[in-house]
C-alpha cells in the first residue's frame, strides 16, 4: 500500500546547480540535530542480530536454515509453499541464473540420469566453477558501478582502458574474492595494495563518473564528480541515499547534510590516474628499450616534424588553456612547490588535455597536422610518411590501466555547501561516517610508501568491517535480489526510511551473519540460497488463495518468474544457435548495429567471431546504449542502477522479429537441427525444443508444431514459386529442400521469440 510519508516533498538533488532563484530555499547550513529515538532504533542501523532459524511445522520442507525463515513466515500467514519445480525447469533456472546460458541437451540428460540426492548441488558447484559465472554476475555489479567506456557529455570520448575494470569484476566473482576485500580494493586498492595491479584497477569503481572534457569551470566539475562518487559509494556499499543530503539534512533518514560532506571528504584528494602501468618491471624495461631504439632511429625525422608542429601546437594549447577561468590557469602555471592541494587537483584535472602523453591531449600530432596549411602541411605529410617506414619498430603503448589515486598526502579542505553549490562554502568538515553511528571524525593514518592521504583506507575499513550494520546486509540482499528478481528489501540501494522494509528481517540478518562467518564468500551465499527449497519451488500459481493474499509474492510462496535481461537473451540465443564465441576478457567488441543507426554513437562492426562474444563484452558507450539492450531496459550508465526496470514494448518485439542478428540466430539453430541429416520432421521438432527450451515437446506440442510446419511450408512454397527470397540454414540433408529449411528457420525464430525462451521460470 502506498505510504503517506513518501508524499512529503523532499530533497532537491540538483538545486545545487541552480545559480539563483529556486523557489525552494532550504536552510544553508548542515545543522546538527538530535536524533530521535525512532531514528536511533531504525532497523538497518542496528547491529546485525544473532538469530536462530525458527522452528516450523513443515520440517520436511526445510532443507536449509533459509527455508526455516521462509516457512515460518508462510505459516504465520496461513500459506504453503508451491510444489517443486520439475527437474528440467530447475536445471534451466540454475543455468540462466548463474551463467546466463541455457543448459545443452547433454547437460540435461546427465542431470536427469543423476539420481543422487546431491545432484543439484553438484550442478550448482559446477556452474559456480565455470568462467561464465563471473561474466553473468559481474554484469550485475557493473550496473551498480555505472560502468561505461566513454565520458558522456558532448563528446563522449572513449575511455580506452575502462574494460580492464570489467575484467577485474568478472575475475573477482570467478575467484570468489571475499567481499570485504572486494570493497577495500575498489575504494582504496591504490593505498592498501599499491603493488597489485588488480587492486589498482579496482579503484576504477570511482573513475566511472561521467565527465566533460571541455568543461571550463574545473572547480565546479570537480564538485560534480565528488557528488557522483559520494552518491554512488553511499548507495552501493551502504544502501543509503546519501544523495538526498547534499543540500540539506535528509528528509527521512538520519543522514545530516554534514554527513554527506563527511563522506565526500574521504575522496577530497582523489584524482583520475589513467596511466597505471600494469606490465611487470622487466616488461616495462623491455618496452623502454625498444622505444629508445625507435626514438634513436627516427630522431631526425621527428625533430623535423616537431619543428613543423611546434608553433601550431602552442597555438592550440594556448587557445585551450586560456578558456579556463584565471584561477585555473594560474594553478596550471604555478611551479609545483607553490601549488596548494586544490591547485594540484586543478592541475591534474587539466593535465590530460595538455599532456602529450595522454589520450585526451588536445594538440596531438594528428590534430596539429589537420590544422596545418599550405607548404607546411605538405612538408608535414612527407615527414610523416618517412616516419611511417619505421612503424614496425614502434613498440606500441604499454599495457596501462585506469583508476584513481590521491593527488598527494594533504587534501584540500572540505566544506558543507549551501544548496550543494561548489563555491558556497558553509563550514569545514573532516572525513567521517554517519553521525548517528559514529559521531566523531574518522581516524586516519598516513599510509607508508604511498603519496596518499590514507582517507579512503579508513573509509574502506569502516565499510568492510563485520561490525558495520549495513555492508553485509546490503550485499546479501543484492545477491538475493538477483536470484529472485526481488530483494528481501525490495529497494536494494535504499535501506532507509523511504525504502522498503525487509520482508524477512530475521532471514536477512541470519544471511548477513552467515556471509561474514563464511569469509564474505559470495559463492557460499549462492550455494546456500540455491540449495534451499524456496529456490526450488515451481513458479506457476497453484494456490490461487496465495495470490490474493500476497500478489507481489513477497513471502515467496512460489518461485518468482522473471524475464531475462537483453544481454542474457542475446547470449542465450547465440548459445542455442551454436554461435556463441566463449572467449573471455579483453577489449570490448562491436556487434552489428541496426540499419539506420546514425554515425555518431555508431561503430565499425567487429569482424568474424568477435561479433558473437558474450554481451558483457559489448562496448558500453555512455550516450548510446546498444539498441537491443536498451530496448530491454539496460540502465542508463549515468548513475548506479540497483534494480533494472522490466518493461514490455513493441520496440522489443520489432527487434526480436525483424532484426538481422535474431534471424541469424534462428538460422543457426535451424542448421543445428538439420545437422546430422535429420529429414524427419518430428525429430527436428524434438531437437529444436531440446536446444531452445532444454526439454522435449509434449505429444500435443509436437502436433501443433507439426501442423504449423505443414501450413507454413505451403506459404513458403508459394513464396519460392513467385521468386521470393528464402532464409537459408546451412547444408541441407537429403530429403530437405530450401523451402523445408526456410520453414524450419521460421519455426526456430519463433521459439527464440517466445515467452518460454526469454523467462527464467
Amino acid at each position: 500500500m502506498w505510504n503517506k510519508r513518501r508524499l512529503i516533498a523532499s530533497c532537491c538533488f540538483l538545486a545545487g546547480l541552480v545559480m539563483a532563484g529556486t523557489t525552494v530555499r532550504p536552510r544553508a547550513a548542515a545543522n546538527d540535530r538530535e536524533f530521535t529515538q525512532a531514528e536511533r532504533q531504525f532497523w538497518s542501523l542496528q547491529k546485525v542480530a544473532v538469530v536462530a532459524p525458527p522452528a516450523v511445522r513443515q520440517r520436511q520442507w526445510v532443507r536449509t536454515p533459509v527455508d526455516a525463515f521462509i516457512a515460518a513466515k508462510l505459516e504465520s500467514h496461513g500459506l504453503t509453499p508451491a510444489s517443486n519445480a520439475d527437474r528440467i525447469t530447475l536445471l534451466r533456472r540454475a543455468y540462466l541464473d548463474l551463467i546466463g546460458l541455457p543448459p545443452a541437451p547433454d547437460a540435461v540428460a546427465a542431470f536427469l540420469a543423476d539420481q543422487s540426492p546431491d545432484a543439484f548441488a553438484k550442478v550448482v558447484d559446477r556452474l559456480l566453477a565455470s568462467p561464465q559465472y563471473g561474466e553473468r554476475w559481474g554484469r550485475h555489479w557493473l550496473d551498480l558501478a555505472r560502468y561505461a567506456e566513454s565520458e558522456g557529455f558532448k563528446a563522449d570520448e572513449t575511455r580506452p582502458n575502462a574494460w580492464r575494470y570489467r575484467d577485474y569484476v568478472i575475475n573477482a566473482f570467478n575467484a570468489d574474492k571475499p567481499y570485504d576485500r572486494f570493497v577495500r580494493e575498489q575504494l582504496a586498492g591504490d593505498e592498501l595494495w599499491p603493488g597489485d595491479p588488480d587492486a589498482r584497477i579496482a579503484t576504477a569503481f570511482n573513475r566511472h563518473y561521467p565527465d566533460e572534457s571541455n568543461a571550463r569551470n574545473l572547480l565546479q566539475r570537480r564538485q560534480e564528480i565528488l557528488d557522483d562518487v559520494t552518491d554512488t559509494v553511499g548507495a552501493v556499499f551502504l544502501g543509503m541515499t546519501y544523495g538526498c543530503a547534499r543540500c540539506h539534512n535528509h528528509k527521512f533518514d538520519p543522514i545530516l547534510q554534514k554527513d554527506y560532506y563527511r563522506l565526500q571528504a574521504f575522496f577530497a584528494n582523489m584524482r583520475a590516474d589513467d596511466n597505471i602501468l600494469l606490465a611487470p618491471a622487466h616488461e616495462v624495461e623491455r618496452h623502454r628499450t625498444r622505444l629508445a631504439e625507435w626514438e634513436e632511429k627516427t630522431r631526425a625525422i621527428r625533430e623535423r616534424i616537431e619543428a613543423l608542429e611546434a608553433p601550431k601546437r602552442q597555438e592550440l594549447l594556448d587557445d585551450f588553456v586560456t578558456k579556463y577561468p584565471p584561477e585555473i590557469q594560474a594553478a596550471i602555471a604555478k611551479m609545483p612547490a607553490e601549488r596548494t592541494p586544490i591547485d594540484w587537483l586543478m592541475y591534474y584535472k587539466a593535465k590530460p588535455y595538455i599532456d602529450p602523453a595522454s589520450h585526451e591531449f588536445v594538440a596531438t600530432s594528428r590534430a596539429v597536422g589537420n590544422a596545418l596549411k599550405g607548404d607546411a602541411k605538405k612538408a608535414w605529410q612527407a615527414a610523416k610518411a618517412e616516419l611511417e617506414v619505421f612503424a614496425d619498430l614502434y613498440p606500441g603503448e604499454p599495457a596501462i590501466g585506469t583508476g584513481i589515486v590521491d593527488a598527494g598526502r594533504s587534501a584540500p579542505p572540505t566544506h558543507t555547501l549551501r544548496l550543494g553549490v561548489y563555491d558556497r562554502k558553509v563550514e569545514p568538515v573532516e572525513p567521517g561516517f554517519l553521525t548517528i553511528l559514529a559521531p566523531g571524525d574518522a581516524t586516519i593514518a598516513l599510509p607508508a610508501g604511498v603519496e596518499s592521504t590514507g582517507r579512503r583506507t579508513a573509509l574502506a575499513n569502516w565499510i568492510a568491517s563485520p561490525d558495520n550494520p549495513l555492508t553485509a546486509r546490503v550485499m546479501v540482499n543484492r545477491i538475493w535480489h538477483y536470484h529472485f528478481g526481488r530483494g528481501l528489501v525490495a529497494t536494494p540501494s535504499n535501506f532507509g526510511a523511504a525504502g522498503e522494509r525487509p520482508s524477512h528481517p530475521e532471514l536477512l540478518d541470519w544471511l548477513a551473519s552467515e556471509f561474514v562467518r563464511q569469509g564474505w564468500s559470495v559463492k557460499a551465499m549462492h550455494r546456500l540460497i540455491m540449495n534451499s527449497h524456496v529456490y526450488q519451488q515451481a513458479s506457476a500459481v497453484d494456490a490461487p488463495g496465495a495470490a490474493a493474499l500476497d500478489s507481489q509474492n513477497a513471502l515467496l510462496w512460489r518461485f518468482p518468474r522473471h524475464r531475462l535481461e537483453g544481454e542474457a537473451i542475446r547470449d542465450a540465443a547465440l548459445a542455442v544457435a551454436g554461435e556463441l564465441n566463449p572467449a573471455i576478457g579483453g577489449p570490448s567488441v562491436f556487434p552489428e548495429l541496426p540499419p539506420g543507426m546514425a554515425s555518431r554513437g555508431g561503430w565499425k562492426t567487429s569482424e568474424g567471431a568477435d561479433r558473437n562474444r558474450r554481451s558483457v563484452y559489448v562496448f558500453v558507450r555512455r550516450n548510446t546504449r546498444y539498441p537491443m539492450f536498451e530496448s530491454f531496459d539496460m540502465p542508463d550508465t549515468h548513475e548506479s542502477c540497483p534494480r533494472r526496470d522490466v518493461t514490455t514494448s513493441p520496440i522489443q518485439a520489432l527487434t526480436m522479429m525483424n532484426s538481422a542478428p535474431v534471424m541469424e540466430w534462428a538460422q543457426g539453430l535451424a542448421a543445428r537441427v538439420l545437422d546430422g541429416g535429420r529429414a524427419n520432421r518430428e525429430a527436428q521438432i524434438a531437437l529444436a525444443y531440446k536446444l531452445a527450451y532444454s526439454r522435449p515437446p509434449t505429444p500435443e506440442e509436437s502436433k501443433i508444431a507439426f501442423d504449423f510446419l505443414q501450413r507454413h511450408r505451403e506459404i513458403l512454397a508459394a513464396r519460392a514459386r513467385s521468386g521470393g527470397k528464402l532464409a537459408g540454414a546451412g547444408a541441407l540433408p537429403d530429403g530437405v529442400d530450401a523451402v523445408d529449411a526456410a520453414t524450419l528457420v521460421d519455426f526456430c525464430h519463433m521459439l527464440i521469440n517466445s515467452n518460454e525462451f526469454v523467462y527464467i521460470n
Binding site: S10, P325, M750, Y759
Partner: protein, 471 residues
C-alpha cells in the same frame, strides 16, 4: 473514474513497470479492450489528467545551439547605444563558455517592426512567423542554469543539466498515457546531426524505459527494425506470429499469474500493426502541392525542416502527444562567430516551415488543441565573440508558445536594457515546464514517481505555472 496521481501510485507503478506505458500502455489498453483483463487494477492504473487539458498535443520546435533573442524577438535600443562599450560593471563578470565576458557589447543589425493587432516586435529575420504574433505569447524573461550545450539542452528537456532524469515527453507519456493505438506517444525528429547529448534528451530516466521518446531517423528506416527481413513476406510473418501467439498462449495459460506474459504476447501484435501504421504516418505522398508549398518543402533550404513540420502535423492528427522537432540538430544555431551568416541561414530554414505549420494547424482546427513551443536551450550574449558572433547566454533569453490554451498577442517578462539577464517575470526552465504540463492537463507537483526514496517530479524542486500566459 478519475483518480488523482498520488493515490495508489505503488500498485500503478508496479503495474506499469511490468506492462510498460507509452508503447506498453498501448499494450495495456489493448489488453483491457481485448481481454477484459486486470479490470480491478484498471481504475487505478489508467493514466488521467489532473485537470481539463487545454492542449492534446505539443509540438516543440527546438532551435538547438541557442538562437539570439537579441536579434529575433527582444529588441534592445540601449544595446545599440552602448555598442562597443564593455559590459557595465554592475553585471559582474560572468563565467561564459568561451571566456568572452570582457568583450565589447555588439548591437543587433536587424530591422525591427511591430506586427499584428498586438504590435509585438519581431525582427526581419522571421518575416513569416511575424504574421502569427497575435497567436503567440512571447516569454522574454527566460533563464536557465547551464553554460554548455549538452547540459543546457539536457535541462531544457529534463529539468536538470546533468543527465539521468526523465524528459518532459516521458513525463507526459507517464502522466497521460497514449492517445493512439499504432504509433509511439512521444517522437523526436531531427534535421541535421545528432542532438548533443543524444538519447538522454528523450530518455525515460528513472521512469520505466518504455516511456522514452522514439527518435525517428533522418534517413533510412524511421524506427529500427520496422521492416521485416527480406526473407519474410507478409503472409509468412502473419503465419509466424500466429504460431508464436499459440506458443505464448499455451505457455501463459500453464503459468498464469504473471500479467507481463500476456503484455508480451500483445506487444507483438502492436509491433505488427506499427509496421504498416508508422510508414503510413510518415508517407507524405498524399499531401497536396499547396500544402508542400505552405511548409516550404518545394524549396531546398526549407525542405528538411518543412518536411518535419508537416510530419508533426500528421502525427498530431494521428494522436501522437509529444512531438519534438530539432532545427539545427547538433548545435546548428551556435553562432560564436559570424552570427549574420549563421542566423540568416537558420532563420530561412525555419521561418516558412513554422509559419506554414501554424497556418495549417489553424486551418484544420488543430491549433486550439495543439501547443506549439519555440525556443533553444539558451540565448546569446549582448557582448560579441570574435567580433561577429555572440556567446551562450543562459541568464536571459526568449521562448514563445502558441495554440493550445495560450493567450496570444502578448509579451511576458523582460530582460534588462541590454538583454543580458531576465529581470521581469523571470521564467526559469522549470517554469516553462510547469506551464507546458499545465496546458496538457498535468499539475507538475502532483506528477510524481518514487525514485531513490523521493517522489520525483518533472520540475525537481522548482517550477510555477506562468498564469498570465493562459487563455
Amino acid at each position: 473514474m478519475r483518480i488523482p496521481h498520488f493515490v495508489n501510485v505503488s500498485s500503478r507503478r508496479e503495474f506499469l513497470s511490468r506492462a510498460g506505458a507509452g508503447f506498453g500502455a498501448i499494450a495495456f489498453n489493448y489488453l483491457l479492450a481485448q481481454e477484459g483483463l486486470f479490470a480491478a487494477e484498471a481504475a487505478g492504473a489508467a493514466p488521467a489528467p489532473h485537470h481539463t487539458p487545454r492542449a492534446k498535443s505539443i509540438i516543440w520546435l527546438f532551435m538547438e545551439g541557442g538562437p539570439s533573442h537579441l536579434d529575433l524577438f527582444d529588441p534592445k535600443p540601449m544595446l545599440d547605444k552602448m555598442a562597443g562599450q564593455p559590459l557595465p560593471a554592475s553585471f559582474g563578470r560572468p563565467i561564459t563558455a568561451m571566456g568572452t565576458a570582457s568583450n565589447e557589447l555588439m548591437p543587433s543589425k536587424r530591422q525591427w517592426k511591430r506586427h499584428g493587432q498586438s504590435g509585438l516586435w519581431v525582427s526581419d529575420w522571421y518575416p513569416e512567423i511575424a504574421q502569427h504574433v497575435d497567436d503567440m505569447a512571447i516569454f522574454q524573461g527566460c533563464w536557465a542554469d547551464g553554460l554548455n550545450h549538452v547540459g543546457s539542452v539536457c535541462q531544457m528537456n529534463t529539468g536538470s543539466i546533468l543527465a539521468g532524469r526523465p524528459s518532459m515527453g516521458a513525463w507526459v507519456t507517464y502522466g497521460l498515457g497514449t492517445a493512439n493505438e499504432n504509433l509511439p506517444t512521444f517522437v523526436i525528429l531531427t534535421d541535421a546531426g545528432e542532438v548533443l547529448g543524444g538519447p538522454k534528451n528523450w530518455s525515460a530516466g528513472f521512469l520505466p524505459a518504455s516511456y522514452q521518446g522514439t527518435l525517428l531517423r533522418r534517413e533510412g528506416t524511421p524506427i529500427f527494425h520496422l521492416a521485416p527481413p527480406e526473407t519474410v513476406g507478409d503472409a509468412q510473418q502473419r503465419s509466424k506470429l500466429d504460431f508464436l501467439a499459440t506458443l505464448n498462449r499455451r505457455f501463459n495459460a500453464a503459468n498464469s499469474g504473471d500479467s507481463d506474459l500476456d503484455a508480451r504476447l500483445q506487444s507483438y501484435e502492436l509491433a505488427y500493426r506499427m509496421q504498416s501504421a508508422a510508414p503510413e504516418a510518415i508517407d507524405l505522398a498524399k499531401e497536396s502541392d499547396a500544402t508542400r508549398k505552405l511548409y516550404g518543402i518545394d524549396e531546398p533550404e526549407t525542405e528538411k525542416f518543412g518536411t518535419n513540420c508537416l510530419l508533426a502535423r500528421r502525427f498530431v492528427e494521428r494522436g501522437v502527444r509529444f512531438i519534438q522537432l530539432y532545427s539545427g540538430s547538433g548545435s546548428g544555431w551556435d553562432a560564436h562567430e559570424n552570427i549574420e551568416a549563421n542566423h540568416s541561414k537558420m532563420c530561412r530554414q525555419t521561418d516558412r516551415p513554422i509559419a506554414g505549420l501554424l497556418t495549417d494547424l489553424k486551418a484544420r482546427g488543430l491549433l486550439d488543441s495543439t501547443l506549439v513551443v519555440w525556443g533553444g536551450e539558451f540565448g546569446r550574449t549582448p557582448f560579441n565573440e570574435k567580433g561577429t558572433g555572440r556567446d551562450h547566454n543562459p541568464w536571459g533569453f526568449t521562448i514563445w508558445m502558441a495554440g493550445g490554451g495560450i493567450k496570444g498577442g502578448q509579451a511576458i517578462g523582460a530582460t534588462d536594457e541590454i538583454g543580458m539577464k531576465a529581470v521581469d517575470v523571470p521564467c526559469h526552465v522549470h517554469d516553462v515546464h510547469a506551464t507546458i504540463l499545465h496546458l496538457l492537463g498535468l499539475n507538475h507537483k502532483q506528477l510524481v514517481y518514487p525514485h531513490n526514496g523521493r517522489d520525483e517530479r518533472p520540475t525537481i524542486v522548482g517550477g510555477r505555472v506562468i498564469t498570465s500566459a493562459l487563455a
